[in-house]
C-alpha cells in the first residue's frame, strides 16, 4: 500500500469513526422543570386536515389560550405518525411539545421507546384519577405495560350502517341483532345483475374498507395475548368463529372472486362515492364519522345500530370495536409543564371535550363528557355513544411493535379468504408464531 493510499484510508477511517461515534450517543430527554406560569410558546402537532376539523381544533386551542394567557400554542396540522415518530427522535427547537395521533396502534411503541413522556406524575400532581375520568377501554389503549404515556382525545366506535330504503324495499323492519339475522338480511338485500350485482347486502371481503379482521373480531370479544404476552389467536375460539363466519358470508353472497370484482367498482372510502353512500352496498361496518360524511354527500337514508353479535352471545348486543385519537407530550420537550396544561385541558375539560366531539362527530373521551347535556342529541350519534360505553366493547391492545400483530393477522385473513391458505387452524398457529417472533425482535 502506497503512502498516499494509507493517508487516504486514514482520513476516511477517521471521518467514519468520528461521525459514527457522534451518531451513537442517543437522545437526551427534556425534564419537567419549566415554569408553566411564565410566558411560553409550545408547539402542538396533529393530523386533522378537513376545514371543519381544523376549525374545531383551532377553536379549542383558542379557548385554552384564553384560559392560559401566558401559554401560546403554535399549531401544526396534517402530521402523520411517521413524521411524529421521526420528530420525537430528532428533538430540537422545532420539534413538537405536544403530539396527537389518530391511531392507538403506536401507543406501545411510544411508551416502550420512551419517546413520549410518562404522564403519571402529571396526573398525580393535579390529582386526576384516570379510572374516574376516562372510559376503561380508552384507558387501556392509551397505556402500555403499566406506563401511561398518552391520554384519549376523543374516540371512535364502530357499528352497523344500513340503507333504510333498501331495508323497506326488502321488507326488513329492523336492523339485525345476531349474525344469523344479519346473514339472512344480507342475502335478502343482494340483487345480482349479470355476473355482478346491482346491490350487495354486505361486502364480507377483508378489503371491504372497515370490514377488517380486527374490527369484526371485537364482536366475539377476543383476546389477542395471554397473561405472558404471547399471541393466542389460535387458542381463542373467537378468532376461529370469526373466520368461519366470514367464509360463510363470502360463500353465501357469491364467492370471493365475484365479490372482489364488485369491490373494484367502489369509490374511495373517504370520498362521496363510498359504496354505503352510493347504495352499492346495503349494510356495512363503519365508524361514527360516516354519519357526517354521508350527510355531506347527500345520503340521508343511512340508519345506524350496533353491529350484530354471534348468536351464542346475543346478550352482549350493543358492543363494538373501539379506537380513538391519542395525545401526549414529547419526551424531548423542555416545556413539559406548559405542554401538560394543554394536554390536561384538551383531554379533561368537559366543555372542551364536548365541543370538540360535537364539531367533528367523534365520541367524547371522558365519563363526564359522555353524560353532558351539551352533547349532540342526534339519535345516530347516540348509538355510537352507547357502543363506546358498553362494558363488552373492546379494542386492540397496544404492543411493543405497534400494530404489527394486527398486520400479521390481517395478512393471514387475506390469504385465507382468497383460498391461498386453506387450513384455518394451522394458519392461526402460524400467526401466533410470527407475532411472537416479531415481538421478540422488537424487545
Amino acid at each position: 500500500m502506497s503512502r498516499l493510499t494509507k493517508a487516504a484510508a486514514a482520513v476516511a477511517a477517521t471521518a467514519a469513526i468520528s461521525l459514527l461515534a457522534s451518531a451513537c450517543t442517543g437522545q437526551s430527554s427534556g425534564s419537567a422543570n419549566d415554569d408553566a406560569s411564565k410566558d411560553v410558546t409550545i408547539t402542538f402537532w396533529h393530523g386533522w386536515t378537513a376545514p371543519n376539523e381544523l376549525k374545531a381544533i383551532n377553536d379549542n386551542v383558542a379557548r385554552f389560550e384564553k384560559a392560559h394567557p401566558n401559554i401560546h400554542v403554535k399549531v401544526q396540522g396534517n402530521i402523520t405518525d411517521d413524521k411524529i415518530n421521526q420528530a420525537l427522535r430528532a428533538g430540537g427547537s422545532k420539534a413538537p411539545d405536544v403530539v396527537s395521533s389518530f391511531t392507538t396502534d403506536n401507543v406501545g411503541q411510544f411508551c416502550s421507546s420512551g419517546s413520549m413522556a410518562d404522564l403519571a406524575p402529571f396526573l398525580a400532581k393535579d390529582k386526576i384519577d384516570p379510572a374516574a375520568t376516562f372510559p376503561k377501554p380508552m384507558l387501556e389503549y392509551t397505556q402500555f405495560d403499566g406506563k401511561r404515556c398518552t391520554l384519549p382525545l376523543l374516540g371512535d366506535a364502530y357499528g352497523l350502517y344500513y340503507n333504510k330504503k333498501a331495508f323497506a324495499a326488502a321488507g326488513i323492519t329492523a336492523p339485525p341483532k345476531t349474525l344469523s339475522e344479519f346473514k339472512a338480511d344480507a342475502v335478502k338485500l343482494t340483487k345480482t345483475k349479470g355476473d355482478s350485482y346491482s346491490q350487495l347486502g354486505y361486502m364480507p371481503n377483508f378489503h371491504g374498507y372497515e370490514s377488517t379482521t380486527t374490527h369484526l373480531a371485537a364482536q366475539w370479544g377476543v383476546k389477542y395475548f395471554d397473561a405472558n404476552g404471547k399471541s393466542q389467536v389460535a387458542k381463542d375460539p373467537g378468532f376461529t368463529a370469526m373466520f368461519n363466519w366470514q367464509q360463510d358470508m363470502v360463500k353465501s353472497l357469491g364467492g370471493f372472486g365475484k365479490l372482489e370484482k364488485y369491490r373494484n367498482t367502489f369509490g374511495d372510502e373517504f370520498g362521496a362515492k363510498n359504496p354505503l353512500q352510493t347504495g352499492q352496498v346495503a349494510m356495512g361496518i363503519d365508524g361514527e364519522w360516516r354519519l357526517g360524511m354521508a350527510k355531506d354527500a347527500g345520503m340521508n337514508d343511512l340508519g345506524v345500530a350496533p353491529f350484530p353479535v354471534p348468536d351464542d352471545q346475543a346478550s352482549t348486543y350493543g358492543k363494538g370495536y373501539l379506537s380513538g385519537t391519542i395525545i401526549g407530550i414529547a419526551n424531548t420537550s423542555s416545556k413539559k409543564n406548559a405542554a401538560w396544561e394543554l394536554v390536561k385541558f384538551m383531554t379533561t375539560d368537559t366543555d372542551a371535550v364536548v365541543s370538540f366531539a360535537n364539531a367533528i362527530h367523534n365520541v367524547p373521551s371522558t365519563l363526564a363528557a359522555l353524560k353532558s347535556p351539551k352533547l349532540d342529541a342526534d339519535p345516530g350519534f347516540k348509538t355510537f355513544l352507547d357502543i363506546a360505553q358498553n362494558p363488552d366493547s373492546t379494542t386492540t391492545p397496544p404492543s411493543i411493535n405497534g400494530g404489527a400483530y394486527q398486520l400479521t393477522l390481517q395478512d393471514f385473513g387475506y390469504a385465507y379468504e382468497s383460498g391461498k391458505s386453506k387450513n384455518l387452524s394451522s394458519g392461526l398457529q402460524g400467526v401466533d408464531t410470527q407475532v411472537d417472533k416479531d415481538i421478540a425482535q422488537a424487545k
Partner: protein, 315 residues
Amino acid sequence: MTAAVHPLLKAKRRKSALRTLAFLSPWIIGFSVFFVYPLVSTVYFSFMKYNGINAPTWVGGKNWSYVFTDYPFFWPALRNTLWLVVVMVTLRVLFGLGIGLLITKIKTGAGFFRTAFYLPYLAPPVAATMAFVFLLNPGTGPVNHLLGDVGLPTPGWFTDPHWSKPALTMLAVWGIGDLMVIFMAALLDVPKEQYEAAELDGAGPWHRFRFVTLPNISPIVMFAVVTGVIQTMQYYTQPLVAGKVASGVIGNSGQQVEPGYPDKSTLTLPQLVYERGFQRFDYGSACVIALVLFVLSMAFTALLLRRNGFLSAED
C-alpha cells in the same frame, strides 16, 4: 540492502504526495462522509439494537437471522425486486433503444414524436402511478372496458398478484423518455462512414445494426443497464402508491396498512427498509436489508461490467 534515499529527494517526494493529497481531498472528504461513513454505520447498526432514542446495544447476528428466517416480507420483496430488475430493466432498455432508433429515422415530425415520447418521463411518479391504477382498474377503468369490448381477456392488473408487476413494468416503459434521449444522442454519434462502408460490403439493415450500431453504442447500452439496475433496486414510490391506491384502503395516519397489495406482489426491498427503519424504528434489521440491497447492486454491476469487458484485469 536498500540504497539510502537522498534527503532532498525524500522531501520532494513528501511534498509531491502532500500536493496530490490536497488535490484529492475534496473527493476524499466527500467519499468518506457520503459513502464510507454511511456504509460503515450500516454495517455497525446491523449488529445492534437501536430505535433512535436509546443507546445502541450489541445483539450479534439477531437482526440478520430475523430478516433471513423470520421476517415474512423479506423473501417476497427480494423476489419482486429481482423480477423487476430482470424484466423491467431489459424492457426499458429495449424500448428506449427501439424508440430512439425509430425517431432518428423519422424524416418529418421528429420533433413532435420526440416530445410525445419524452413527456411521460416528466410526469410526477405519484400522479402517473395513480393515473395508471385508475386507467387499469378492472371494474371501472377504460382499458378493461376496451379489452372486453373487443373480446380480449380483462386482467385484474394492480389487483391481481400475477399482473401487478407487469402493470408496473408498463408504467416504467411508458416513462421511457430519459433512455430515449440518451440513445438518440448515441445513435446520432455513430460515424456515417461506417454505415456507408458496411452498405458497400452488402450489409443489410440487421447486419448494419448488429455490426456497426451496436458496437458503437455499447458503452451507452451498458450505462443504461447499470443505472437501470441501480434505479430498480431503489424502486419505491410507484409500487408503494400502486399497492395502496389499488387496495382501496388508504388508512388513517399510522393505521396498519397491508404492504405490497395484492398478496405482497408490489413489495420491494426499499419499502422494507423504510418500514423497518422509520415505522418500526428497528434500525438494525433495516440496515441488514440495506446491506443486502448494496451487495446485490454491487454484484449486478460488477457482473455486467466484467461480462461485457468493461472491467478487465488490465483495468
